[in-house]
């Protein structure tokens, strides 16, 4: 189905998430790259050797959950915007999620925005914690949101409204 719709199955998604114990320890990347394509900037960008693709750049990236610091450099480097960072260390009831977001208007910290799933459906209102848009991210801003744990495996996008 994924190849017909672009929507990964629950099984595919869960296969990319590190175990909950790791998520609860601190920020860690979720690399949702499911299909072999010739591409390896995530591996090149990572300073902690946390993403491995190897000699054949068509290989699917493999994340080392222990090496990954959740620094989020790879989020703005992935041409497919396939990576997010999840952090369950801040609260028992919520997680913080960093998402690449290349749309206007950019939200600001404290703002409430729509949290969307992988089909673009509205899941819940979520709070924006931080918006990073330094020059080194090359016009791929990274937005950190706080979401309820009940939607931590579902949330994958946000929508902002024009002011």
């Amino acid at each position: 189905m994924f190849e017909k719709t672009g929507i990964p199955s629950e099984e595919m998604i869960m296969g990319k998430f590190p175990p909950i114990e790791r998520i609860n320890k601190g920020p860690v990347a979720v690399v949702e790259c499911y299909k072999e394509i010739p591409c390896n900037p995530c591996e090149t960008a990572c300073r902690f050797n946390a993403i491995t693709i190897g000699e054949d750049i068509n290989n699917i990236p493999v994340l080392s959950k222990d090496n990954c610091t959740g620094c989020a450099i790879c989020l703005s480097k992935c041409p497919g915007l396939a990576i997010m960072v999840i952090d369950g260390s801040k609260s028992d009831t919520t997680v913080q999620v960093k998402l690449p977001y290349e749309f206007l208007p950019l939200p600001t910290a404290g703002e409430i925005v729509k949290g969307l799933d992988r089909e673009g459906r509205n899941l819940a209102d979520v709070k924006v914690i931080q918006v990073q848009n330094p020059k080194s991210f090359d016009r791929t801003p990274v937005v950190t949101i706080e979401a309820d744990r009940s939607i931590m495996y579902k949330i994958r996008n946000i929508r902002t409204e024009a002011k």
Binding site: F2, E3, K4, T5, G6, I7, P8, E32, C33, Y34, K35, E36, I37, P38, C39, N40, P41, T44, A45, D56, I57, N58, K77, C78, P79, G80, L81, A82, E102, F103, L104, L116, D117, R118, E119, G120, R121, D138, R139, T140, R156, N157
Partner: protein, 366 residues
């Protein structure tokens, strides 16, 4: 008659890389580009490129032209660039005719040529496909990303290859609504990371669907689409209606090969390479001595492959006309490895099965 050591036809990714490679080998290069600006399709590609560092992965297409021109500028004593110059003919005696702007015809006599003319968009036949509001994806991208003009307000994208997916995303970035993306094929043709990022913006991707007809009086007002079966026949009773003012046709590209045909290069129809392409050897030299080809004109692929092909063809063309560098083998092997690497995955396999049909080994073209 203008003399040139190496003429490069086309100033897109393949042509610019061929120019860099040849000029850095010591050849005098003349680049002829029909548009006012260099860069070809790169000038509208606001997305980040795939590939690896050597093909500028993770850099946006719009920024790659600048990187290539900066590189080319290092060899400016060896390089002449003519924009607004269309090559209109290539003849048996090696003479090439050119048209600068609208009325200045002249002849060029190069020692060798690299043809890097790229590709052009295929069309799709359906009733009323000539209504205003029905665009090729390239036109939409040009309007939007080069001139900052919105092509319309509600778009139906036809084609779920990489261009269709990327242009849909860029339309949304420009604040234009994309109601759906369709494709007659049973599977999404483009990279699935692109498909997923559009899908999570809420845009449905309808595979096994095609356009039945367009409706509108003065301009496009509605699109009627329907399902197709596994033989691409329209299925009665599956019609859907979309109120749209833009239909964007993105059903693939085909190599732009008239100059190569005219020159008498042996050509072959290869579906995997999206059309008629020249037979060539490992150095990207065609069946006509000293006529090289690189980029989409030798088979439609990603721009990353076109750039590496350009570097390789430029290097070999320069060597052929007396500018063999000490590090020729090393550089050639590097480019060959890069191409192998870009083509080693599932998409590349398809391309390789096409390339196998056009590469002539042995003495004939060496």
């Amino acid at each position: 008659m203008k003399q040139a050591e190496l003429l490069i036809i086309g100033g897109g990714p393949a042509g610019l890389c061929a120019a860099i490679s040849a000029a850095s080998s010591g050849a005098s290069v003349l680049v002829a580009e029909r548009n006012k600006n260099l860069g070809g399709q790169l000038v509208k590609q606001t997305h980040m490129f795939f590939g690896s560092e050597k093909q500028y992965a993770s850099t946006r297409g719009i920024d790659i032209t600048g990187i290539l021109l900066h590189e080319l500028n290092k060899y400016k004593e060896n390089v002449e660039i003519m924009t607004d110059t269309t090559i209109v003919g290539m003849f048996e005696d090696g003479v090439v005719t050119a048209l600068h702007k609208e009325d200045n015809y002249f002849k060029i006599k190069p020692n060798a040529v690299v043809v890097a003319t790229g590709a052009f968009e295929k069309a799709l036949a359906f009733p009323n496909n000539d209504l205003p509001g029905i665009y090729g994806a390239g036109a939409v991208q040009t309007l939007m990303n080069v001139y900052g003009v919105k092509p319309g307000n509600k778009v139906l994208m036809v084609g779920a290859g990489n261009i269709g997916l990327i242009v849909s995303y860029q339309l949304m970035q420009a604040g234009v609504q994309v109601v759906a993306i369709l494709d007659a094929a049973p599977k999404i043709g483009g990279y699935l990371v692109h498909a997923s990022k559009i899908r999570r913006m809420g845009v449905p991707i309808l595979t096994s669907h095609t356009v039945k007809k367009a409706i509108g009086k003065e301009f496009l007002e509605k699109a009627i689409v329907c399902q197709v079966d596994d033989k691409f026949n329209q299925v009665e009773g599956t019609e859907m209606e979309f109120d749209v003012d833009v239909m964007c046709i993105s059903v693939g590209l085909t190599p732009l090969n008239e100059l190569l045909s005219m020159r008498g290069c042996q050509m072959k129809y290869v579906p995997q390479l999206s059309g008629m392409v020249p037979l060539r050897n490992d150095n990207y030299e065609t069946s006509i001595e000293n006529v090289f080809a690189a980029g989409d004109t030798t088979g439609v692929e990603e721009a990353s492959a076109a750039m590496v092909e350009g570097y390789l063809a430029g290097l070999c063309a320069a060597a052929k006309i007396g500018h063999m560098t000490d590090d020729f083998e090393e550089r050639k092997n590097d480019y060959v490895k890069q191409l192998e690497s870009l083509r080693s995955g599932p998409v590349g396999k398809h391309i390789l099965s096409g390339i196998e049909q056009i590469v002539i080994k042995g003495e004939q073209y060496v």
